[in-house]
Symmetry: C2
Subunit: 294 residues, 2 copies
C-alpha cells in the first residue's frame, strides 16, 4: 500500500507537487500552510485534511514534504518546543524542498534523527510547471537509506533524480547552480540592455547570442522576456537574491573572492530594495535598459 | 575568374583563413605580417608572395583580408601617409577581421572610400580551428554592395554569414557577444571554484550545471578545462580583457551601469596584470580556485 503523504507549505510549488502526487495515485492526507486559505483551498481540491497544526500533519502522514520560504520557516516547522512536525515523529520521513542554507538542512536532519525520524533534502532546480508535470530536477542529500525509502515517490515528481551526499550537500549544489544562473542572467540583461541602447535589433542580437559563446540556458528562458518586459514570475528576483546570498556566504566562509557572483547578488538585492523582488529574475533587465528603472 | 586574395596579419587566425581559401581554389597572391618570419613561412606554404610592404599587398590582390591585433595596428595598415594598404587602392576591397572598436571600423571605412576602395567589417565569433575548416561565424557590416561583392569568398570561410548594418555595427555586436561570454566564463569559474572549495565532485557539478539554469556555451567549451587547468589558448584572456573593455566603454558612452560586465572585465585585466594574459579565457579559473593564483 502506498504511503500517505502530507504537505507543509502549499504555495504554487508545494501545491503543484501535491497535485502531481495525487494524480499518481498517492493519498494526500493532510496539508498545512501558515496562510490558511491556501491550505483550505488545496485541501478541498485534493480531498485532504486541512491541518491546523503541524503535529496534525505528522499524525496523518507517513511522508511529509515541506516547501517553505526560508531558513527561519524551515527551522520553525521543526521546532523543538510547541507545535512542530517533530511531535510523535518516530518512523516518519520528511522531505525538505525549500531553498535554505546547507546549515539549516544539517540542523533539521539532526533534530529529525533525535526524534526517531529521518529528513532528506530535496532541492529543486526547476519551475512551477515542472512541479505540476512531475518533471522536476531534484537533488537529494541526507542518509542514503532515507533516499532509497522515498525514491518511488520522488520518481513520480522528477525526471532527473540525483543523490549528492550527506545533509547540506544538495543545498550547496543548488546554491552553486543558482549563483551561476543568476550571474548569467544579470550578464545577459546587460548585453541586451547595451544592445538596445546602441539601437540594435534585439531579435537579431538574441539570435547571434544563441549561435555564439554568449549562448546560455537563461538566454532561452529569459532573453525574450527581458526584451518585452514580460516579468511574470517563475523564479522571483527575491529568490535569486536569497540564493546568490547563500552562495556568497559559502564563498566568504571558504575565503574565496567571487566578484561576479557578488555583483549579481547586488543587482538582485537592488531589485528587491526597489520593491521589484516579486518580478521574475528576468526583471533584472529593468536595471540595465535605459529609461526603465535605476 | 576568381579574385586574387591578399592577407595582412597572418597569426593563427589569419593563416588558417588563408589556408582555407587556398583549399577552396582561391589564389593567395600576397601575405604580409609585421612579424616577417610568419609571413615568409605562410608565403612558402601557399606559394604566395611574401610582401615586404603593405602597398605591395594591395598591388598584388583584388580582395585583401586584414587580421591584425588591435585598433592601432588596424589604423596603421590604413595609414594616410607612408606605406599603407591605401596606396593605389582604387577598386580594391578590404575585409577587416580584427576585433577593434566600432569607431576604428568607421574611420577605416571613411579612408578606404576616400581612396576609391571599399572596406567591410568581418567580425568573427569563432576559433582558430573554425577558421581552418571554413566554419566561421562571420558578422559583416559596411556598405551592402561591398558585402554582396565578396559574399562568395566569405561563404567559403563561414557557415553562418550575417550582414548587420553600417560600419561599426558588427564590431558592436561582437563586443556584446564577447562581453556576455566573458561574464558567463568568469561566473562559471566562480561556481566551479567554490564547488571545489566545498569538496564537491566537479564532474558531477558540471553535469548538474549542464542540466539546469546554469547551462551555457562556455560550460561546454571551458568547464572541463577550468577543472583540469588546461588553458591552452583558443581565445586568450588578453583578448577577453580587450573585448570586455570595448563593450564597457560603449556602456559608459551610453550612460549605462553594467556591474557584471565591469567585474568580469576586471578579472581578465587582473589575469593580464599577473602575466597570465596568454592563457585561454578559461584561465580566469586560476583566480577563483583556492590555492591556484591570487
Amino acid at each position: 500500500m502506498k504511503e500517505k503523504i502530507g504537505f507543509v507549505g502549499v504555495g504554487r510549488m508545494g501545491a503543484n507537487m501535491a497535485r502531481r502526487l495525487g494524480d499518481c495515485g498517492y493519498r494526500i492526507t493532510a496539508v498545512y500552510d501558515a496562510h490558511r486559505p491556501a491550505a483550505a483551498a488545496l485541501a478541498r481540491e485534493l480531498d485532504a485534511r486541512h491541518a491546523r497544526t503541524l503535529a496534525a500533519v505528522t499524525a496523518a502522514a507517513d511522508v511529509i514534504f515541506t516547501v517553505v520560504t526560508d531558513d527561519s520557516a524551515q527551522l520553525s516547522v521543526f521546532a523543538v518546543h510547541g507545535d512542530s512536525l517533530l511531535v510523535r515523529a518516530r518512523g516518519k520521513v520528511f522531505v525538505n524542498c525549500a531553498t535554505v542554507t546547507p546549515k539549516t538542512h544539517v540542523e533539521v536532519g539532526r533534530r529529525a534523527k533525535r526524534w526517531g525520524a529521518m529528513a532528506l533534502e530535496g532541492c529543486m532546480a526547476s519551475s512551477i510547471s515542472q512541479a505540476r508535470q512531475g518533471t522536476l530536477y531534484l537533488m537529494c542529500a541526507g542518509e542514503r537509506r532515507c533516499f532509497e525509502r522515498v525514491r518511488p515517490i520522488l520518481e513520480r515528481l522528477s525526471t532527473a533524480l540525483r543523490f549528492v551526499g550527506r545533509a547540506g550537500r544538495a543545498a550547496q549544489v543548488k546554491a552553486l547552480v543558482n549563483m551561476v544562473m543568476n550571474a548569467n542572467t544579470a550578464a545577459l540583461a546587460e548585453g541586451l540592455g547595451l544592445g538596445a541602447a546602441l539601437g540594435h535589433d534585439l531579435d537579431m542580437l538574441r539570435e547571434v547570442f544563441a549561435q555564439t559563446g554568449a549562448q546560455s540556458q537563461v538566454l532561452k528562458t529569459d532573453g525574450e522576456d527581458m526584451q518585452n518586459r514580460a516579468h511574470e514570475c517563475y523564479f522571483s528576483a527575491a529568490h535569486a537574491a536569497k540564493d546568490s546570498t547563500i552562495a556568497w556566504v559559502l564563498g566568504c566562509e571558504a575565503g574565496l573572492q567571487l566578484p561576479i557572483a557578488a555583483a549579481a547578488r547586488l543587482q538582485f538585492e537592488r531589485l528587491v530594495s526597489l520593491g521589484l523582488g516579486g518580478l521574475d529574475k528576468s526583471g533584472v533587465a529593468e536595471l540595465t535598459f535605459k529609461g526603465r528603472h535605476g
